[in-house]
Symmetry: C2
Subunit: 207 residues, 2 copies
DNA sequence: TAAATATTCAAGTATTCAATTGAATACTAT
DNA sequence: ATAGTATTCAATTGAATACTTGAATATTTA
């Protein structure tokens, strides 16, 4: 095989993967399934896309082998196909942030407007804190930071009494575009907790 | 600003970056300018694309701020716009390799057929070797591994007498799809050198 | 001002992509 | 066999993309 042939085949395949994530809907769907197996219905609802459209995009992701499926009776569960995909997407976020003044500005403006303090893992190093994962419990079970407890944002009201007001509460969710943590921090701050949002999220599979 | 709005804007911007690299020609052009500033003519020639097409794709990359330009008289030099881009592309290669049996098989089959031994940095740890960068000198000057000397593949014949036959010669070029290192290793092996190709390439800017 | 060199732009054509609508399929329970 | 639930497929329409051809532009030199 000539090397020019290898190059052409390879670039074609690699570019096709990039093209596959080159649509906002598919990117969002991939980020959602990175957090755990989900049904088409759940994905459509979470991403606020029409059912047929969601299914179409999922077929495209499946064709590219970015996702895998598992049917349980009538329900098909979609999962991330490879551990490198979330890393790829994270890198994509980083590059977009570096390149796009619009994106950077929009993100920073939103954070300022939301009046939610953020903190990095480095900044946390010398502090005493409680870390809470505000995603749905299935996503927590799929993988979470070892030190985090799960308080789904939908159950904040009934769970917040468990929290120590003397401690710094650090909330995280799916990624920088997920607003659950913002909402939780806002509510907790209002009732007197010292709450912040974790800035950089590095998800690990639970042991 | 509503969080749903932020999400939509953000995914749109991020996905657009992915779409920008979602074409084999643009991906190749980006990999080439990652190795140093290049003119349109040089890029068209290296990538074997028509001039007009090359320019069109470069305009697209420029529009997405993936590349920057600098005009010197009549010649426009294209450069990589951000250090995260080569890392993103490398991650993309990795994901494609993991997902695509075709890609993996094609790459491994080519390497087997080329009869070129490869070696990793880890495997080199305990060995005595000479590392050679076989890219054009401008690319070497732009950035290279600190321990490498530059022997452009086009100047192998006149330079190989400088090499010690007692030492292991480790060649590298632009990335896994660049065949210059394969050719150099083939030639050196034929005339009695102990030559291999470096498997994983991690480029650093020269200090 | 004109020529040379390098590059970009514009338009046409063909192809691919995305969303919607509606039909078809897969599976279980009755 | 039929109904219910969930999902996928197919076709259409309109938008977006890619390549080619040829014109236009940018810059320097003479």
């Amino acid at each position: 095989m000539k090397s020019i042939h290898l190059k052409e085949i390879s670039f074609s395949i690699i570019a096709n993967i990039a093209k596959g994530i080159g649509h906002p809907h598919r990117l969002e769907l991939l980020e959602l399934v990175s957090q755990g197996s989900k049904s088409v219905e759940a994905l459509a609802k979470e991403a606020r896309m029409s059912f047929a459209n969601t299914s179409q995009h999922l077929q495209r992701l499946k064709q590219l082998k970015l996702v895998t499926t598992k049917r349980q009776f009538t329900t098909v569960y979609y999962s991330i196909a490879d551990a490198s995909i979330p890393l790829l997407i994270k890198m994509l976020h980083q590059t977009a942030f570096n390149l796009s003044a619009d994106f950077k500005h929009t993100l920073l403006a939103y954070q300022k407007e939301a009046k939610v303090k953020t903190i990095t893992m480095d900044e946390l190093a010398s502090k005493d804190y409680l870390m809470i994962d505000v995603r749905p419990t299935e996503e927590y079970q799929f993988g979470h930071r070892a030190e985090a407890i799960n308080i789904p944002h939908t159950k904040l009201s009934s769970s917040m009494n468990k929290l120590d007001k003397q401690k710094l509460i650090v909330a995280y969710c799916r990624g920088e575009l997920c607003s659950y943590a913002d909402k939780v921090v806002e509510v907790l701050t209002k009732v007197g907790y010292n709450a912040v949002r974790l800035k950089d999220i590095i998800m690990t599979k639970s042991a």
